[in-house]
Assembly symmetry: C2
Homo-oligomer: 445 residues x 2
């Protein structure tokens, strides 16, 4: 069960900042149905980058991933070299559901000190390096790969090849021919799957197999979200949440807070931030008109951020739509014990931690509604692979629906190109000399 | 050295979204000087909560903290029970500068599963629990304390008292009398210091002493920021950065991105988010007028978020002011090695990781400026205790200056009260029965 509670966005609850849901849904039914039908129809065209819809059906690839993992029983440390979409999904799911004994390390930056610290700590003969880059040209990932590749060979000699597994494009790019030439095991990022939509393909599943996550159920949950995304509007959860985001962005709310009530879900907002921001922050629509779309996703964790951000959420400007994520049931619970001398806290004695967590979540949502701050809650029956897979795929669908409503391409990222070119110029790459000169003239060197 | 580079907020660089700095500074000189003088004058009044200005001068308390830490050589795991301002500062500094061998664990939520996991992992006779709450009534912190307190006594008997250290109000609240009655070691949160301004007092320094952070230099850096905050405007860094925030909030930029280029600084944005949001997100000004102030701080890490948020920062709406934090020098560096078969990446061969990190930072700032997105950079000479202490205190001063410019109380948090009351009601606390009934009538239970 993945349930949407939208009481706290309704005018009757939050006053003039609210909406009338039945009439809003009716008014947008045609556009939402058109969006749904367009997405399902375009899915077979690889150029549309809708491959993520079908990936959860691909149980054959999952079996290959699991067989590979079983064959590497010697691994004690898995180093994932990847950045952005090549790291955030696995990181979020591993934090939520991962179990030992293999330790996962995500190298998603090029700051030298943490890389040196990790290299000093690892034992090469117990370490597997999973380099993840679709193009094989991501500077950060490849710089790290060069360093780890050299480190492995320096310590293990020709045996380094047993310690690298590649996840990359099926045919193109730098890493595929390299893996073939060196005889390295390699998995595919399907052609029509972009980084931020890749958690259910080997980009996510290979690291997560080493974290002992129940991947069959993760994919089954994602398929459940697909089922909802195909349904009529009254059962189409992502169409509904996309509409909420659309309506409030039209009202001027340019901030979207994503706030799960769970420390285990602490990296889920980071994954959502990328999915949402990179997909929907676009200068031009599909017709080439300048539109500058995009609401800014903000990370928060409950209850923790009640003591950090909620003051602003409640008393600050009405510029936010807040999306809470709650769990209906804990996996296990703990009683808050009575302690003599601390009777001032006796209202906690004998209650459970989960009850307190849940009360805080409800209290905060209600207090925000009282201040006219719109918020809605997605409730997961429990935090397991099935429901997390469902939620991840739901959020991908929500993003795709929003892209349709705003008539933008939610699957590219043209705005990061110029920064890459400047980096090439500043790094002295051949062919970028004139840009380097231009930058020097502008005082950047 | 802590340097401000504001070239990328100027009209000549970013066009119509930019400002003319000399004239803006001149136009606001009087208000900024008045703000500075008011803050320094009010500092002696405990009711003004400006105690954080003088805390870095208090080397006597620091010596007590260090003596306490030395006397606990047996500690292998330090568990910090605290939430919001009672955790974020120590967490940020420990991630940046902390060294083993003591492992730090921050319990800042009440989700049962992570607490159970931690309790199963810890060895009680090697564990010290530092409970941090000024009032001793924070539900999350105290629920966790009840659980850890009981766990220690169950396993260690009367010896549990050696395993708890309390950080709380000098006189008031629940924990001070409890510590006295039980004979527990206790440190003070000075009366005039609020949670989000507490990193240089024992709230921060006690855990950081166990992380082997150079606290003398952390405090020396904070004193350096005080020196600047007292100076004339042309040398007053926090007055200047506060003015930048003020000017862009007036232009409609309601989002502030805080983006250090460093994985070691990965928790610094979380600390800043609380400092900024909770201080400045206020419904009423000091005259009681409804004002709804507050810009929303957004966490980002470079280069990592170039692959997550920068697409939106560049192509999305002009609703952000971006604050980069960069390091001028690495502590140590690593060369990117050449690898045969990967010559497509030869522009990286022989370059250093820090050079790549630095090039990406400059490239991103420049690419954002080209898109008319205002951004400024604070550069630290290096990442050490002195410069981090300077930066932390600088940001506290910036926040205080902004509070003055907006005529709000930056040191309270009235907006979190209602949520606390709802929580009491939902937890069945005595005295809150009628509110509980009200909530039930509204469908919340």
């Amino acid at each position: 069960m993945l349930r949407l509670d939208l009481a706290n966005v309704l005018s009757e609850r939050i006053g003039p900042k609210g909406i009338d849901w039945p009439s809003a849904l009716a008014a947008h039914a045609q556009r939402l149905e058109a969006a749904r039908d367009a997405l399902w129809q375009r899915k077979s065209d690889p150029a549309e980058f809708l491959g993520w819809i079908d990936v959860p059906e691909d149980t054959e690839t999952l079996r290959r991933v699991l067989r590979f993992r079983e064959a590497q029983a010697w691994v004690e440390d898995l180093v994932v070299l990847g950045i952005g979409g090549s790291a955030l999904g696995a990181q979020a799911v591993a934090a939520a559901l991962g179990k030992g004994p293999v330790r996962l390390h995500f190298v998603d930056n090029v700051e030298p000190e943490p890389i040196l610290e990790l290299l000093r700590k690892l034992e090469p003969h117990k370490t597997l390096v999973n380099v993840i880059s679709k193009s094989g040209s991501t500077a950060e990932t490849m710089a790290a790969f060069l360093a780890f590749r050299r480190w492995l060979e320096d310590r293990l000699g020709p045996d380094w090849k047993r310690h690298v597994v590649v996840t990359t494009d099926p045919a193109k790019g730098v890493l595929r021919p390299y893996a073939q030439a060196e005889g390295l095991p390699a998995f595919e990022v399907p052609r029509a799957v972009g980084g931020r939509f890749s958690v259910t393909c080997p980009v996510g599943t290979l690291p997560l197999a080493f974290a002992e996550v129940d991947l069959e159920n993760l994919l089954a949950g994602a398929r459940k979200a697909n089922e909802q995304a195909r349904a009529a509007l009254e059962h189409n959860l992502p169409a509904q949440t996309a509409l909420l985001h659309h309506l409030f962005s039209q009202k001027g709310q340019n901030i979207v807070v994503f706030m799960p009530y769970s420390t285990r879900l602490r990296y889920l907002p980071d994954w959502f931030v990328q999915l949402h921001d990179e997909s929907l922050g676009k200068m031009r629509d599909r017709a080439g008109q300048e539109v500058r779309t995009g609401t800014t996703a903000v990370r928060a964790i409950g209850t923790t951020d009640q003591h950090a951000q909620v003051q602003l959420f409640r008393e600050g400007p009405h510029d936010k739509l807040i999306n809470f994520v709650r769990l209906l049931n804990p996996s296990e619970d703990l009683e808050i014990p009575a302690v003599r001398g601390l009777e001032a806290l006796d209202y906690l004695f004998g209650k459970s931690f989960f009850k307190l967590l849940d009360a805080e979540a409800k209290a905060t949502a209600h207090a925000l509604a009282k201040a006219g701050q719109p918020n809605y809650t997605l409730t997961l029956e429990q935090l397991d692979a099935y429901h997390l897979g469902w939620l991840l795929q739901h959020l991908m669908w929500q993003t795709a629906f929003l892209g349709e409503l705003w008539n933008i391409n939610a699957f590219d990222q043209p705005g990061v190109e110029l920064g890459k070119e400047y980096t090439y110029a500043l790094m002295g790459r051949r062919g970028w000399e004139s840009l380097a000169q231009e930058l020097r003239a502008e005082g950047v060197e």
